[in-house]
Symmetry: C2
Subunit: 370 residues, 2 copies
């Protein structure tokens, strides 16, 4: 294997390692052995990723002595639901999986969220392994143990905190991604930089120049370090506040509150999640300057990075501000007229403000119209 960069999460009996290396995919069997995973393995993947990598993952697991079954569901957030859970659970029971088995989640954020949730409830909880294959999942969602599925009433409404037993990241799997998917995933890297490592913004702007027409082998060679740096930022925050009860893990929501509102106000799929986060970050920077003392130069530093990544900074046509506002925070979320909202006092210094009003949110959304 080539370049390698590992990150450990220290969470007591739930501690685990994130292995980042080009070509790592074929070491999954060995890593599962090292992580003391016994029993049968159930690979869960989708119709996009399964055909690309499931064969190699299965082979590696079998070479290390595992009995393996493969479960493929139709790609897309629309299938991140309880129907898919039920059908895969029934398949797994037929395949003979019991409480001694483990799940291997192979794919992007949708696969990781859903397969992780399934593992958390199968026979009241079995171990799982994350093999994220999108930028978004590699730098963010595969680490930290948040799992969920969507319901009619909303996204990620039911789920569990269930930490993976190990995470394997092979940046080679990013070679097939479109520039748009790369850029949207990098929005979360910008978020990490703004929260904890402003120096990384410069690295991201340099990387932005290498995206078209997708990550080249030369660029992918450099990715393990920057991916590991992002995971380390998230890891330290999750270690401090695993279940988001202390107001620290909430920092990772920078740009996400308004971002989710905008995403939900548009027809599904019009904006990718990371694109909505880019807009949400701009709104959060605006509010941070007005309410938390962020300087204009610091705001510009982040905006320049988002711009270099060709991420959206103004609302697409047809977004209804009132609807986006209502979807950002329902009235019942406001206490005495205010809502909890992550702001930056400086780059690298987030706070959880309790003083953002509905009018503030409206002002921020209006700022995104030009």
């Amino acid at each position: 294997m080539e370049h390698m960069a590992n990150v450990s999460l220290s969470l007591g009996t739930k501690s685990y390692d994130v292995h980042v290396a080009n070509g790592a995919l074929e070491t999954i069997g060995h890593l599962c052995n090292s992580a003391a995973l016994n029993g049968k393995a159930a690979i869960i993947t989708d119709t996009n990723i399964g055909p690309l990598y499931a064969g190699r993952v299965r082979q590696s697991l079998e070479d290390s002595g595992y009995t393996v079954s493969l479960h493929i569901f139709t790609a897309g957030e629309a299938h991140k639901n309880l129907n898919t859970i039920e059908s895969i659970v029934n398949e797994m029971v037929q395949a003979g999986h019991d409480r001694t088995s483990f799940v291997v989640a192979l794919g992007g954020g949708v696969v990781g969220d859903m397969a992780g949730f399934l593992a958390s409830i199968y026979y009241r909880g079995i171990p799982f392994v994350q093999i994220p294959t999108s930028v978004m999942a590699q730098v963010d969602s595969s680490v930290g143990g948040k799992t969920a599925v969507d319901l009619a009433a909303g996204k990620n409404l039911i789920g569990a905190f269930h930490q993976p037993r190990l995470v394997l990241i092979d940046p080679n799997t990013l070679s097939t991604l479109s520039p748009r998917l790369i850029r949207e995933g990098m929005a979360e890297m910008v978020k990490h930089a703004a929260i904890r490592n402003p120096g990384m913004l410069h690295t991201l702007r340099n990387l932005a120049e290498e995206i078209e027409p997708g990550f080249t082998p030369a660029t992918i060679e450099k990715l393990p370090d920057i991916i590991a740096a992002n995971i380390a930022i998230k890891a330290r925050i999750v270690e401090e506040d695993e279940k988001e009860t202390l107001g620290i893990r909430a920092f990772l929501n920078l740009g996400h509150t308004i971002g989710h509102g905008i995403e939900a106000a548009l027809p599904y799929g019009e904006l990718l999640h990371g694109e909505a986060v880019s807009l949400g970050l701009r709104a959060a920077l605006y509010l941070s300057r007005r309410h938390a003392g962020l300087s204009a130069a610091e705001e510009q530093d982040v905006l320049d990075t988002l711009r270099a990544l060709e991420l959206p900074l103004t609302l697409p046509e047809g977004v209804d501000i009132d609807r986006a506002l209502a979807l950002t925070a329902s009235d019942k979320k406001f206490q005495n007229g205010s809502i909890r909202f992550v702001l930056l006092q400086r780059l690298g210094a987030p706070i959880l403000s309790k003083n953002i009003t509905k009018q503030d949110l409206r002002d921020a959304l209006l700022e995104l119209t030009h």
Copy 2:
């Protein structure tokens, strides 16, 4: 309030109290306050129990300052599934429940299993309170944190370990139960006695004489102590092995392995769970005498109690032994020809044997034919 008997479960940050008292139902609001439960309350109950008690529970919660919503599903194990979960979650979201809310599970084992599982996954987990209203749920399933729903491929296939924040038991709610439901719940009391407190068998035989035509007020007056004694047995075992990983909590499965096989081999509902457990206990006693040194006198002591409770000791017509055997333990459960099985060396002294063969199970099932 009248007679009162409390049991505490010591589980670190997940510790909680079980309050047992006649008339306790109307103190639920006060107890929730004492347990530091804030936020809105969602009462989940079924069409049998809701009409009887939901009004009083709601009133008590509202009197203590809680905003309350009520969610009623069709009674019966057939509705302990993901469809019911999905529909109640959607209702709860509409009612404005978020991660600060809590669930009140009001009903028998089906309600507790399902509402507890729902609480474990709603917004990745919110607190819940158990108010069990059947003998089975009061002496057994409401305590210990096992929650689950059924799938096509099997019962309790998905679920979570999610401890309640408090359990309130009002034996007055047993006054409306039929003798058959009382007797089946008492099968679990016999199991507890056999595992940890053989002296209780005598008490249970005395109680058996008072069941027809159902528990009278005079009998109900005596129930808090015996219910608390049962919960204390389970509590000490759960404290030692919360997630059933050490082979201790498995003792609570005495009589359940073969019992489940018999239950599953019959048309649904022909035998109640506790009736199947009675048969399973007889089978386990038989195997204990042959393989673990249990004396014939001790075996008789338990059988006499089951007989006094008019619980079944021979298989109903039409049970196919081979089918019951296959449903007791599929071939893949046997390792080197043997299965793990709870036996009694003496009354009060269970062991987890690894040496029971398929032929042993068949012999035990055949013993139940006469």
